[in-house]
């Protein structure tokens, strides 16, 4: 079984030393979000994740969720619902929710380390409370007053959970094709009829009610994505005072058999004239859904990060224990039968790759969450606008890169185990299987790439990229005379210039043929992720130097940054070549 220890030192470094989140929180008016409070939250959260959730991870994989066809009920793996009860008791569901509805009102960024730790400890379990946040946000921003009163309290307290019901068998990415119908009733409610698939936590045994946020079409809705409305459909009917009544006509039809996240209930949900209530304006449902999707995308990025970190921790341990062969430069432990495999440079290469992606990715992912706070609570309109532009730009990068790196890190970590990594008992193969979903759900990497290049760069004229490049330029200027940072700064400036040039070059080609956007999107996304990570590594070195961290910690950050710049960042060259080759290098394939 794989072990997990919450990386509190590095979490604190990312949050407080690199991002100076305490200052940011105070400036945004989160007076409770002091370092003392947040430290206590981290300690308590770490204990819960390490002792309650982590031990259930293998159990969830082995048992999976079970479905009773007759009753439509889903039973979660042994221990899952008890762990959820402890989670509710600890007040975790409302950590970053508004105090008006029983939450603790901490900033969004103060909640992400807990999110990372939950996902690292037990991704499948983490998917049950995950979407309550999205449902809460959608109702907060778009719901009628009675809907907020009826649903938000139980969602924030965790007595109920939420879902996002988007996908149908014939449409996932292309929601314009969806067919689920909503018929208006005399009492102002709607009857929802249709089938939704891939519904995470669509049915389970953890709470008394489940709040489905459902996309459906009104009878007179225009075709395509402009005719989609958002509805709230509880599993058990709820009156306007929030009292639960009889069961609604929504039922789980089956559970999917998946490659991984076996403990997570991925449901087919059948709505058979279920009672629902319109959220927001008719035909404007996609907007409400996008509200949910952006934070969900950042959250899925953190799933990739959490799995990577757990995989790395176990690979490090194994590489220190497993004795095999001697170092090429001579025995390092002559008294042992062989050297531990960590002495072999190629094993170090795999471990350092994970370390560089995990620690750098942590800062990048947390920064994304901080931007969400700043977009809402920034000091002034200009600051909020900048943060909003940057978070729009960085969200697809964080989602796609942290999950692609999650696949890579779980691959490398498993590889350190040799054949033993393929055997279930070590738990490494579960991490690899679980990580595999993260580049698919909440929009595949390809969809993130189109969102980044097509929408955030081309349609919005690179507003977010501009903010990012200014941030990099500002950092490089501030450290122009800093000898310790010189090699990083020089490289970073070069890459930033190339980033801008590649963007312009794609823009020019796309003006002639819009398919050039699709041809460049993936490589542009990955290029962007590697340059952004280079920036965060340079910032990490600077922050470590300026901090009161021990010298060994500072050295470790500098050495890992050097590794990143020497061994990972050069991947940008391959991506740049692919981008520049354009559509011309991407021939058609026979359509039939």
């Amino acid at each position: 079984m794989s072990a997990y220890k919450a990386p509190l030192d590095d979490i604190r470094f990312a949050l407080f030393d690199v991002l100076d989140a305490e200052t940011a929180f105070q400036q945004m008016g989160f007076s409770d979000a002091t370092r003392d409070i947040l430290d206590a939250v981290l300690e308590e959260g770490a204990r819960f994740c390490e002792t309650v959730l982590a031990p259930l991870n293998a159990v969830g994989d082995q048992q999976g969720c079970t479905f009773d066809k007759d009753s439509g009920q889903v039973t979660t793996p042994a221990g899952f619902s008890q762990a959820y009860a402890q989670y509710v008791e600890g007040g975790w569901p409302g950590l970053v929710s508004p105090t008006d509805f029983g939450g603790q009102g901490l900033p969004h960024a103060a909640g992400v380390p807990m999110k990372e730790m939950i996902d690292a400890a037990n991704l499948s379990w983490g998917n049950f409370p995950l979407l309550s946040h999205g449902a809460t946000e959608a109702l907060l921003q778009h719901g009628e007053d009675w809907q907020k009163q009826a649903f938000l309290g139980p969602l924030v307290e965790g007595r109920w959970t939420g879902t996002m019901c988007l996908t149908e068998p014939h449409c996932g990415t292309d929601l314009g094709l969806l067919k689920t119908r909503a018929e208006p009733q005399a009492d102002g409610s709607y009857r929802i009829t249709g089938t939704k698939i891939f519904i995470t936590a669509g049915e389970h045994d953890m709470t008394a009610n489940i709040v489905h946020l459902v996309l459906a079409r009104l009878p007179d809705a225009p075709a395509g994505s402009k005719g989609i409305s958002l509805f709230v459909v509880p599993k058990v009917k709820v009156d306007r005072e929030g009292n639960m009544g009889e069961a609604n006509a929504v039922r789980c039809g089956s559970l999917e058999h998946k490659m991984g996240i076996h403990g997570s209930a991925t449901c087919v949900m059948n709505f058979d004239g279920a009672e629902g209530y319109l959220v927001g304006q008719p035909n404007k449902g996609l907007m409400g859904m996008f509200t949910m999707m952006n934070t969900a995308r950042l959250a899925v990025g953190l799933q990739g990060l959490g799995l990577s970190d757990r995989a790395l921790q176990n690979a490090l341990r194994y590489s220190r224990e497993r004795l095999q062969m001697r170092a090429l430069s001579g025995a390092k432990f002559p008294d042992k039968a062989a050297d531990p495999i960590i002495v072999h440079p190629d094993v170090r290469r795999m471990l350092l790759t994970c370390k560089a992606l995990v620690e750098g990715g942590r800062v990048m992912g947390y920064h994304g969450a901080l931007l969400v706070d700043e977009a809402h609570h920034g000091a002034d309109e200009a600051a909020r606008k900048r943060a909003d532009e940057l978070v729009g730009f960085m969200t697809p990068i964080v989602k796609a890169c942290l999950t692609e790196w999650g696949v890579e890190c779980t691959y490398n970590a498993l590889q350190c185990f040799g054949g033993h990594g393929y055997i279930a008992e070590h738990g490494m193969e579960q991490l690899a299987r679980d990580a595999r979903i993260t580049t698919l759900y909440e929009g595949t990497t390809g969809i993130q790439a189109l969102d980044l290049l097509g929408r955030k760069v081309m349609q919005l004229q690179g507003a977010g990229l501009k903010v990012m490049l200014e941030m990099i330029a500002g950092f490089c200027e501030a450290h122009a005379d800093d000898a310790a940072l010189a090699p990083f700064v020089a490289e970073l400036m070069q890459k930033a210039a190339q980033w801008q040039q590649l963007t312009l070059s794609i823009g020019k080609r796309a003006a002639a043929n819009p398919d050039e956007v699709g041809a460049a999107a993936y490589d542009y996304l990955m290029y962007s992720g590697y340059v952004a990570l280079a920036y965060w590594w340079a910032r990490s070195v600077a922050a470590a130097e300026a901090s009161s961290q021990p010298q060994a910690f500072k050295d470790d950050k500098r050495e890992t940054a050097r590794f990143y710049f020497a061994r990972i960042l050069p991947r940008t060259a391959a991506h740049a070549s692919a981008i520049e080759s354009g559509l011309a290098g991407l021939p058609d394939l026979p359509l039939e």
Copy 2:
């Protein structure tokens, strides 16, 4: 469930058009290996793989092998042993084995397409007959006369299967640590005692006997890898006339629970004073085992290839069927609800990546097999020596690259399915799980990299690389004035020069510190694979042009080659940077 259709057109193109194998076989004296005969073998083999093996692939994954603790017996999934009986009846086991022992005496390279098709159709099943070849070769080359008479007939006919028993719980790569003991008996036999793990097909219900080739230590053996001897240990004892007697003291202790290849029996094997017979010289066992390992490594490369091809076939089909979104450049199928996703450039990028790696990899893998034949049957001593040097150099590249690309291709193909790829019923996730073993067994990618750079390049002074570079230079020279090939030839010459320069540069650094070899090994291996593949793609374009293939086929090869050179080959830049950064870019990690 994923479908499989044997790619006979491309197999024929690789074998006959690019490699001109028919001529080569005739020159080597394989007079039966005519195009007509081989075509018939291909057709018949394709039918068997498509209709018998492929439908059992999902069954094997779902049922797995089962183990009866009381009897020590292993039951293979439903249909597996019947399929094996058909395989034996069809004469497939002895396809490339010597006629002296009942084989059909075809060259090794004539057997690899069948190998690829078997692995694509059902990798787990393919692992049962796989190691009979290695056992056959080890006995042929090192066995005593009576051993050949007793064991080779049944192995070649497929009445018995073989195993390779190397790994022990505390040693895999580092066989010098192995502890299994062999005690000489008065009658010339030995008593073998010890535990072996990860034994593929160690126990099963397909044949009456199983022939274990076992590494063990004699009582007076020196420590380390110079004290290892090779033994043949049948499951059922065999006398010198080949008659089966009573059960031997070898027993399966358990089956491993694995990430994939569930239908393959991965056994813990307990030898408890089992009767065995020395094969070859005492303490020279590793040599015999390496004989088996080299062909096994090429064979595992083909496993990666087969899985990649099947994944690509299914992703192509799905991408043509699945309607989602419109092409950015305007609807391509305005009469449909949406365009098939194959119109989106990013989907094409994923499909073309698979196609370039599969079709190029096929030529590279088959060429490796042809070199095995040439090393034994080449026209003269010089030709045999060249082939031997080149196959030694290419074996780790073929093994590691085709399997790493297998992981990448099954990843990309699954990604084309979006969330549906994660669901078991489509069969894509099985291919990804099955592919994951191939970069681990028969030596991890890291071990292949050390074999390539440490042994084949540094110790053997680059003999194989020299042959490869001469081959590339010869091709470039021959096509210097060929306008159709000009862009490929120019790029190829540049990469070949860089290959040589990187090799020299590593050599220089390694003279100062042997750990530089380990620091460069992985990136050198991948760099080598991509340049070798570029050569095979250029050769493929030239071969297509010179062939009587239809114009569409020629265009397809040229376009795929262009894609490869534009989009994949640039990865060499990242690997070259990593190589050049050397040990200095790879800091130590704390050993504890």
